[in-house]
């Protein structure tokens, strides 16, 4: 299997603190790949460099084999790389319908159309309804996003990334802050993604990581600590040591 997403010797520091040190990582096409590590390990910083929010000090990012290191975030999205944020990044004044409609019209390349009405046939397609349904947002699609309960906002956070039609999806703690009993809505939607979509996800809940991931990379102090299958990681005493005092690791 060739890599859908790859980094080569990625380096990023903030005022002397190495948040990413020489990270080389390959995410296989169609993979369900988890990125774990203690708080402050540099997981979000890595995602930010993959998506172009941050520019690495050194190293390269490759999407489907082509170098995207210098591309701006929106160009990477057009190439099929979408993400969600650890802390919700939504449009407070827009409704879920408008937000998803926006993402869909951008995906269809109609976003610059300034004359046709948003929502008319040529600017969107049927996927708006399908996505709103799939993420249990149809009943609140006219509400202001700011007024939605947190669980719905979290669903919208992921729905927007899906609406971009990604071939590679990066999820930064998708279930963060969501109570146990609401998590299945979110994870169900992620698990139901077609196999062509490559998923790299960050998650702290080890039950989720071990039930969903096929491959796990452990990041510590900005560097790749180890990588392997869930079985290998579960067996690794050094990983347990890293997590000691954090969360228990159990397969």
């Amino acid at each position: 299997m060739s890599a859908a997403l790859e980094t080569v010797g990625l380096v990023k520091s903030f005022g002397g603190i190495a948040a990413t040190s020489n990270v080389s990582l390959a995410v296989a096409r169609g993979a369900r790949h988890a990125l774990i590590g203690p708080n402050g390990a540099g997981k979000t910083t890595l995602i930010n460099q993959l998506t172009g929010v941050l520019t690495p000090d050194a190293g390269r990012v490759l999407l489907e084999g082509s170098d995207i290191t210098a591309l701006s975030p929106h160009r990477r999205v057009r190439r099929g790389l979408a993400r969600t944020f650890q802390i919700n990044q939504l449009f407070a004044d827009l409704s879920p319908l408008e937000s998803v409609g926006l993402a869909v019209s951008e995906r269809l390349g109609r976003g610059h159309d300034w004359w046709r009405v948003a929502g008319s046939r040529s600017t969107v397609d049927d996927s708006i309804a399908e996505i709103l349904e799939r993420f249990h947002l149809a009943d609140v699609m006219h509400e202001r996003t700011a007024h939605l309960p947190y669980g719905k906002q979290r669903l919208l956070e992921i729905a927007l990334a899906i609406a971009c039609g990604p071939s590679v999806l990066l999820l930064d703690e998708p279930a963060a802050g969501v109570p146990e009993d609401e998590r299945h809505d979110i994870l169900g939607a992620v698990a139901a993604l077609p196999r062509e979509v490559t998923v790299l996800f960050i998650e702290h809940d080890m039950d989720l990581v071990f039930s969903f991931a096929e491959r796990i990379t452990v990041l510590v102090n900005g560097a790749v600590f180890t990588e392997g299958t869930p079985q290998e990681i579960a067996r690794d005493e050094r990983v347990k040591a890293v997590y000691l005092g954090e969360e228990p690791v159990h397969a």
């Binding site: 159309d113 046709r116 929502g119």
Partner: protein, 339 residues
């Protein structure tokens, strides 16, 4: 996809498109504007001023209310358009008003396009300073180039041909008002299309959260440059209207006061629903007129007081209260969309 889902899908897209439908209250609003042409013949001079201010405010609303770009120097484009129209007419290059308007609007849009790259850098504070600086530079330039602009004396000797070769400007301001109102309406309809389009939706997403807009594939800077250019063109047309309808143009058109008053107009009327600038312009002009008659020397004082209150209380909270009130009123009247 099942048949049922197909029906739902169409309905959902229609809900999105429904935002663009004309509401009854909007028709009432424009009906009232049209009625004023016939019912208030003695007021056409001030009504023309109001229509011009409304167009200018609409221009600022496009960037502030929809794209979230703050500006303290929007008079730069207004003034540029005003001088462009004046000079074109004075030197008999273009004396027909509508053509002059188009030319002045295009020139102002070009200036806006050039400025956009400066303005869109950095934070809100940087933007305020850059817009302020550009307007000040233009004003000083117009002052220094007195051979061309007439300097502090203003641009004299402008003679406009009749509008479309048929309607001459008259002393009662009748032609001026009908002309200004017609231009305002046409440009309003265009602005309305713009804000309800996918492009307009993307502007609102940028105002709300530029980071996420980019993460959904929106080319944030390109979109901001585009709307800034359009808004500058609108402001230029407003300035050109003022020159054409008064046959005069002075350094006033580039003054800081003009930019500041404009913010006040939008603070009064509210931003982000297109009618704010129009309603604000009516209220502002009537207020100005009333206060200037009541207490001529205190007019500036009251404006100053309002500004201080706004700054002290904070734009957010102030606009919070006021906009909640205006928005509720507007919603009652059906001018605003969301429940």
């Amino acid at each position: 996809m099942s048949a049922l889902q197909g029906v739902l899908a169409t309905a959902v897209a229609d809900h999105l498109a429904a935002r663009a439908r004309w509401r009854a209250a909007e028709l009432v609003f424009w009906g009232a504007a049209l009625a004023s042409v016939f019912l208030l013949p003695g007021k056409h001079l001030i009504l023309a001023e109001i229509a011009i201010l409304a167009l200018f405010a609409l221009s600022l609303d496009l960037i502030l209310g929809y794209a979230g770009i703050v500006s303290l120097g929007h008079a730069a484009f207004f003034g540029f358009g005003a001088y462009a129209a004046g000079l074109l007419a004075k030197h008999a290059l273009i004396t027909e008003p509508v053509l002059g308007l188009l030319a002045a609007g295009l020139l102002a849009a070009l200036l806006g396009f050039a400025c956009a790259f400066l303005v869109l850098r950095g934070s809100d504070l940087t933007r305020l300073m850059v817009t302020l600086g550009v307007a000040m530079m233009l004003r000083e330039l117009a002052n220094r180039l007195d051979k061309l602009t007439g300097g502090a004396d203003g641009l004299q000797g402008i003679t406009m041909a009749p509008v479309l070769g048929r309607f001459s400007f008259d002393i009662t301001g009748h032609t001026a008002y009908v002309y200004a109102l017609a231009v305002l309406f046409v440009l309003f309809v265009v602005a309305r299309r713009i804000v309800h389009s996918p492009f307009g939706l993307s502007l609102m997403s940028i105002r709300g959260n530029p980071l996420r807009a980019g993460a959904l594939g929106v080319p944030v800077n390109a979109r901001l440059v585009a709307i800034y250019t359009v808004a500058a063109g609108y402001a230029g047309v407003a300035g050109a209207l003022l020159t054409q309808t008064t046959a005069f143009c002075s350094l006033d058109v580039l003054s800081f006061d003009r930019s500041a008053d404009l913010l006040l107009v939008l603070i009064i009327g509210g931003t982000g629903y297109l009618y704010g600038g129009l309603i604000g312009a009516v209220v502002f002009k009537l207020l100005q007129d009333a206060l200037a008659t009541l207490t001529p020397q205190y007019w500036q004082f009251w404006i100053g007081l309002i500004l201080v209150i706004i700054v002290l209380v904070g734009r957010e909270r102030m606009s919070g209260w006021w906009h909640a009130a205006v928005a509720q009123g507007a919603r009652r009247l059906g001018l605003r969309e969301r429940p």
